[in-house]
């Protein structure tokens, strides 16, 4: 359920979304569903050839999870902009945790908006994705 966005204020937290551990199955399915077929995420032989110990998660999988956290909080059409920097790799078995906080109220193209700082972290607390979303309040 989406909350009433107009009550969102500076300092408010986006509800935390915690995901199950990353599995090879999830990576295989996400490759097919997303269209991102880079073998480094699904083919251990290719990963070895690239100097990695194993396959690792698509950064875009965590970005999709963070996007889900946003749309479970506010209606999707109110998300005007959404961007992240990929800070660390997410490995098999890692549990992705998505969180966010409202840091600013502003007007964008005549619409009242909030800027939300968002991040994905591992259970260890290491940040894997950090960025922000611009969310309209109407």
């Amino acid at each position: 359920m989406n909350v009433q966005v107009k009550i969102i204020d500076i300092g408010d937290d986006m509800p935390v979304l915690e995901l199950p551990p990353i599995s090879r199955t999830t990576l295989a399915l996400f490759a097919g569903a997303s269209g991102d077929h880079n073998p480094i995420h699904i083919d251990i032989d290719f990963a070895h050839g690239a100097g990695m110990k194993d396959v690792f998660a698509h950064g875009m999988l965590s970005m999709a999870y963070l996007g889900r956290a946003l749309t479970e909080w506010v209606p999707q059409r109110q998300i005007l902009s959404y961007g992240v920097r990929f800070a660390a790799l997410t490995h098999l078995g890692d549990r992705v945790r998505c969180s966010g906080k409202v840091v600013e109220k502003l007007e964008h193209a005549g619409r009242p908006c909030v800027r939300v700082q968002i991040s994905a972290t591992k259970a260890t607390g290491e940040i894997t994705l950090a960025g922000e979303a611009l969310v309209a309040l109407n």
Partner: protein, 147 residues
Amino acid sequence: MIDKKFIGYEVPPTLWDVEKGRIRFFAEVIGATDAIHLDATAAKAAGYRNVVAPPTFIFGAESDSGVLMKLLDTLKIDLRKVLHGEQRFDYHAPVCAGDTLRFQTRVADIYDKKGGALEFVVNDTKVTNQLGEHVADLHSVIVVRHA
């Protein structure tokens, strides 16, 4: 080193059809249960013309349409060295099942750090649809590791 002559290079535009089953598959894999991604009736009740794609769906559509691989090939970048550095979406209109998207990608910048050990390719993609609407802008930074 990536040839900097490719700064400003425009990848030939690509068309990509947005399929309802594909949106459902994507939503299911990421655990998005909102009916606007799964059920056309619910999506229409929410004001969409058909089931709507989750926010980051169009990135994969861009990969799937072959834009990224074509670009790596043209710039002679080894896929094994590629990491995703940054990604941003600016949204202007929804992406729904039945749409045909057009991706127009331009290499906005190429630069390096650490004496060339890391190279960066910045891509800007304009996405439009069959209605002539400007749907979104994608901004991507690809990192190429030489170390």
